[in-house]
């Protein structure tokens, strides 16, 4: 790998993915849902970008778009300056790989671990038998599994072991970027740490770049260098991890952070609920969070705020007309 002067590895521009739409046979309009709407994002080489959001915010759709499992309705994704849509799935898969949320269902129950791990080496890299065997031994050792596991079937493994196999599968093609979609959510807490620590070490050893998607703020905070918060198909705030957790600017980020349960912390009971998500088939005009937002002003219900630096910090972007002032956090 050559040293890249421009550290930007992945460039996402105005990416949209809509589901449904069109008309039925009788000309009736089918309902349309925008899972990801005109989203732009850069991924720097060597960083871990954490993407946080609640269910239905479009984070998994974004992940599938990034690895080429789904095609965007509009917009572009460039990897090292090359358009992914033009490159074809195999070319993308050789550089961007994916780790699934449910480790067990991401492994074919009728294949041995060897067959599962060899597939990317064969079909993406075209490696010969001897080379594959050599790499397999290394790979299985890298994820702390024993070589004899190669001949076994997925049902023989626990969730944590299966997820390590899933990670090995993603790394088998030697990618530059790994998109991790809730990689520890399905695991028991005592196993989560094993996997998180393993991911950290692999990143260091192999010079990987991660996109780490999760609903768990504590996990995202512990692994990410930079964090993006998603709400209703759009990014509402991006900033270096420390900054965003210390001083969130978007009211939704604030709500997320306040909602998290922290061991040893008992909150003073707050009255009232935090509101419901808007109907995705009938989105509100303007900022999607405005109906739930205590800081909403008139303009919030009319126009969509852009994601931009709204204070001195050029790294901290927020899509809000009335962001929480920095002074509020000191």
């Amino acid at each position: 790998m050559t040293a890249v002067s421009d550290a930007r590895l992945l460039e996402v521009r105005d990416l949209s993915r809509r589901f449904g739409g069109g008309r039925t046979l009788f000309g009736v309009k089918k309902p349309q849902l925008t899972a990801v709407g005109a989203l732009s994002l850069d991924l720097q080489k060597g960083e871990t970008l954490g993407i946080v959001g609640e269910s239905g915010c479009g984070k998994s759709t974004l992940a599938r778009l990034l690895v080429g499992l789904d095609r965007p309705s509009a917009g572009t994704i460039r990897l090292d300056g090359e358009d992914l849509a033009a490159a074809g799935r195999r070319a993308v898969a050789a550089k961007v790989q994916y780790v699934f949320q449910d480790p067990v269902s991401s492994l074919n129950p009728r294949h041995t671990i060897r067959a599962i791990l060899e597939a990317p080496m064969r079909h993406l890299l075209g490696l010969g038998k001897a080379e594959r065997a050599r790499r397999l031994d290394q790979l299985i050792e890298d994820v702390n599994l024993r070589p004899e596991f190669l001949e076994r079937y997925p049902h023989e493994f626990s969730g944590g072991q299966a997820q390590r196999i899933g990670i090995a599968r993603a790394l088998a093609a030697d990618p530059d970027v790994v998109v991790l979609d809730e990689p520890v959510s399905a695991l028991d807490v005592s196993v989560q740490a094993q996997v998180l620590n393993l991911l950290e070490r692999l990143k260091r050893e192999r010079g990987l770049t991660y996109v780490f998607i999760s609903h768990d703020l504590a996990v995202v905070e512990s692994v990410s260098t930079r964090v993006a918060v998603m709400y209703f198909g759009a990014l509402v705030e991006t900033a270096p991890a420390r900054a965003i957790f210390a001083a969130p600017r978007h009211p939704y980020t604030r709500l997320l952070i306040d909602s998290a349960q922290i061991p040893g912390r008992q909150r003073a009971p707050k009255s009232g609920g935090s509101g419901e998500l808007p109907d995705p088939y009938n989105p509100p005009p303007g900022c999607a969070f405005a109906p739930r937002c205590s800081r909403a002003e008139e303009i919030c219900g009319e126009a969509m705020p852009g994601l931009e630096a709204r204070s001195g910090d050029s790294q901290h972007h927020v899509a809000c007309f009335n962001p929480i002032p920095l002074a509020a956090h000191s």
């Binding site: 994916y98 699934f100 492994l107 040893g264 912390r265």
Partner: protein
């Protein structure tokens, strides 16, 4: 989680499980084995027909027509033309089997191929193929076969085609259904990301997973197809004279039915034997290949968890002042020869108005413990083998079924994890609450409806009157869980057992629900048993905490004390391995290894094998849960001192 609990117990606890082979399972099934023997004999005879010492099946002998059973030289008699029935029977079986099996194979191959392609390709191709299949299915089964025979003309081969075509839709639909499900599975995405093309995925990823279904469908339909081809011949539309299969023999015999009934009864009996033996084998194959049936998961859970006789009861008196006072509770799962001690002697006490957080990882037995209290652990395989369950001084373990039923939902209510699965999908939420109220209070329907609406208001559901008529799937996850809580409050309970009530919810919704539960329990002086795996949730709501590991409570005490300075190394490790917001720099200490299987628990401390502080004495004898320091009890011989960390 009813059966998932049981499944989790088994799945987690067996490091390497060999599956018994399909053939072994089939032979273990007595009925299937019997079917196999009968079919084997019939097929054997049919195959051996040319070398068996049989009369010419078509040689007529008018002098000996309509000979009875056991006539000399004609064991099964002769037909109206004096032909030997035994010989015709065996030769006819040969024809029937050949035609039926060929039709089945054609239908299986063509139908499965259509199903695979339609299911995997999706979109337009799927729509077109399936509309065509639907069209074939729009004809009543045999009618389509008749139409095809009408076009092609009567004859055995035409009947074969007709039956095959008619059965194509069964395979196509079945296989398509499975394929669509598989195509959405993550391992198919994984294969795409491994660079496999569509054909390779279809062949190497999907087909191996679909094959058992094809075999099951084939084995359950081949008998039917043999029967139907015989039926066409019976009607005179299949085999044409002089060729005979079982159906045409039966049809011929019918003409002399009143004078010589055996001529028609014998071939009919043969068809019946073939079809029933194939059906027996088919059922056996289905049971052997369908893992869900194999694990016995289809067993029906009974009204109440089975209670062992005699029950191992501790002698200590029950604390009548406590809302809940559980002593020595043991619940086993009995699956085949294995006994899983899912809950292995648990003591719990909850004072009125108190909230106890029961914390543990999956498979620790926390849910089984909670569900055992009111007998909601599925039986089979669950069985309560020991303990007393004191509720205000009354022992529920020995209470009558009717007493348990009147307590359920009134004095003791439950809130479960996933409200979409735990609310009935076909009743509107208002009805479900009304039903809960009227099960315990003599109210009229309209009074109960008024009360239900009040409850919805109490749990802060907007527009309660309107939401009464909503079905569960029309509500968001948060609203659904509020409905569950409203239902639990319907009869002013004293104790709520909440099994991971916020785990399936988003963080912001989770915070709302926790806040609601906390407010309600303080306002109404409710005692709560709160099951969770999350220490963050516990500190939000619980007064006291009990930590479970491998079916036992390993530590218990006031929430703040347990969280700040646990005495048991497992609690310490469980706290340390979870990232905490605001402490991103803290190193996460992973717990080595896995919990022991609860059907093979080690002597002494179950955590010893994973514990950094283990000493030789940890692996011997029974270690008791005793007081270590101010209110903190732990099941540990070498507990941590306050402030002490693990090396």
């Amino acid at each position: 989680m009813t059966s998932a609990a049981a499944a989790a117990v088994t799945a987690e606890s067996q490091p390497r499980r060999e599956r018994p082979s399909t053939l072994a399972l089939l032979l273990n099934n007595r009925l299937a084995a019997a079917g196999l023997v009968v079919l084997g004999l019939v097929v054997g005879a049919a195959l051996a027909a040319p070398i068996l010492p049989l009369a010419d099946p078509n040689a007529t002998d008018p002098a000996h027509r309509l000979a009875p059973l056991f006539a000399p030289a004609h064991l099964l008699g002769t037909d109206a033309l004096g032909r030997d029935i035994l010989s015709r029977l065996i030769w006819g079986t040969r024809v029937s089997l050949a035609v039926g099996v060929s039709a089945s194979l054609i239908a299986a191959v063509v139908g499965s191929a259509i199903g695979l392609v339609a299911g995997y390709a999706g979109g337009r191709s799927d729509q077109i193929l399936m509309r065509l299949i639907d069209l074939l299915m729009a004809f009543p089964y045999i009618l389509l076969a008749l139409a095809i025979v009408a076009i092609l003309g009567p004859g055995l081969i035409n009947a074969l085609y007709a039956i095959a075509i008619v059965n194509v839709p069964f395979f196509a639909r079945n296989i398509r259904g499975i394929t669509v499900g598989l195509a959405r599975r993550e391992f198919i995405d994984a294969a795409r990301l491994s660079g496999k093309g569509p054909l390779r995925i279809l062949w190497s990823e999907i087909l191996p997973n679909v094959l058992p279904t094809i075999v099951i469908t084939l084995s359950t339909t081949v008998g039917w197809m043999i029967l139907e081809t015989a039926g066409l011949s019976f009607l005179g539309l299949g085999a044409q004279p002089p060729q005979a299969d079982l159906g045409s023999m039966l049809g011929d015999g019918r003409k002399v039915m009143f004078t010589a009934p055996t001529i028609s009864l014998v071939p009919g009996l043969m068809i019946f034997l073939i079809v029933i033996s194939i059906n027996l084998i088919g059922d056996g194959i289905r049971d052997a290949l369908d893992p869900r049936l194999r694990s016995g998961a289809l067993a029906r859970p009974s009204f109440r968890t089975a209670i062992a006789e005699p029950l191992d009861r501790p002698t200590a008196p029950l604390d009548a002042a406590a809302t809940l006072d559980v002593k020595g509770l043991r619940t086993d799962f009995r699956m085949g020869p294995e006994i899983y001690h899912a809950c292995g002697g648990v003591d719990l006490t909850i004072a009125p108005g108190q909230c106890l957080g029961l914390v543990g990882e999956s498979g620790s037995g926390k849910s089984v413990t909670a569900m055992s209290l009111m007998g909601l652990v599925p039986s089979p395989p669950g069985i309560v083998t020991g303990g007393t369950i004191g509720f205000r001084g009354e022992d529920l373990a020995t209470a009558k079924n009717e007493r348990i039923r009147t307590l359920r939902g009134s004095a003791i209510a439950h809130v479960f994890q996933d409200p979409l699965a735990t609310l009935h999908p076909l009743f509107c939420v208002g009805d479900q609450i009304v039903e809960a109220i009227r099960a315990h209070q003599p109210l009229s329907r309209s009074e109960a409806e008024g009360k239900a609406e009040e409850l919805l208001t109490l749990v802060r559901i907007p527009n309660p009157a309107e939401r009464m008529r909503a079905l569960p799937h029309e509500l968001s996850g948060g609203l659904r869980q509020r409905v569950s809580i409203a239902m639990a409050l319907a009869n002013d309970p004293e104790l709520i057992i909440a099994d991971e009530p916020t785990t399936a919810l988003d963080v912001t919704v989770q915070a709302d629900i926790l806040r609601l539960l906390d407010t309600l329990r303080h306002d109404r002086k409710l005692a709560v048993l709160f099951i969770t795996h999350d220490f963050g949730v516990v500190s939000e709501i619980a007064d006291r905490v009990a930590v479970m590991y491998a079916g036992k409570i390993v530590e218990t005490g006031p929430t703040t004390a347990v969280l700040a300075d646990p005495a048991h190394p497992y609690t310490r490790m469980l706290i340390d391995c979870v990232p905490v917001m605001g402490e991103p720099e803290r190193r996460l200490d992973a717990v080595r290894g896995r919990p022991p299987a609860v059907n093979q628990l080690p002597a002494g401390c179950s955590f010893a094998a994973r514990c950094p502080r283990v000493e030789p004495d940890c692996s011997t004898g029974e270690i008791v849960l005793d007081e270590k320091r101010n209110g903190l009890q732990a099941r540990c011989l070498h507990p941590l001192e306050p402030g002490e960390t693990l090396a």
